[in-house]
Symmetry: C2
Subunit: 137 residues, 2 copies
């Protein structure tokens, strides 16, 4: 078990398992030169992260062709335990019709109302994860 | 009630109230030119966000003097309801001794083990929040 500043480093396999266990993540993008973090509900498809968005939104614009961060975590505030997974990758708005039709069947609707007909696909280049290790008493 | 793409926009007062109701947030920083999102446990002090870190870590280096994003959210995966608050501000590592001593008493220890003797303080410049509005049936 590797320890990094009191945090247990997870293996890549553990990271993917944790990503599969959740459905809400956060995208780190740049909007007008400023950093932003926005939550999305996502699915994992063929090792990529996919979520819905709408044309005309800041999220859509910022993920056209960008390098973005994507984070998923889970915490127990009482036990002070938890984990987080971070991936960095290239995001694109899916434009190819066959791929769009394919994703339409696989990506569940966004929780929020609104006309979310577009898909953002993130191809991970790095993935890392950490678990909080309770301090030894 | 303002609606932005199926999301209810929160007032600044609502955002601060929600920030006060949680203790885990995520910092959006740049590490070696790449975006990253890292979870921290934080407190709100005089309208600033403060959390602990250690010298020598990437988080410490990336928050020395930077513009960072900070996000807090909460979701109910069954009801498909939730909210998120995003703020953008300047971060600094607190170096002034009186301020450090003051924070030592106010900022609870980090959940993770490790020698977290440094404080990062984010002074917000923008704050915004959204709540998921259930689609009308």
């Amino acid at each position: 078990m590797l320890i990094d500043e009191g945090l247990e480093l997870l293996t890549e396999a553990q990271c993917w398992e944790l990503l599969a266990s959740s459905g809400v993540g956060r995208v780190g993008i740049t909007i007008a030169g400023l950093p932003a973090i926005l939550p999305v509900n996502y699915v994992q498809i063929d090792g990529d992260i996919v979520f819905r968005t709408s044309t005309g939104t800041k999220l859509h614009a910022a993920t056209q062709r960008a390098v973005v961060a994507f984070e998923v975590d889970s915490y127990d505030p009482d036990a002070h335990e938890g984990w987080s997974v971070l991936l960095v990758g290239r995001s694109t708005n899916v434009s190819e019709e066959t791929e769009r039709a394919d994703l339409e069947g696989q990506v569940s609707p966004a929780w929020a109302d609104g006309n979310r007909t577009e898909f953002v696909r993130i191809k991970p280049e790095f993935i890392s994860g950490r678990r909080i290790v309770a301090p030894e008493l």
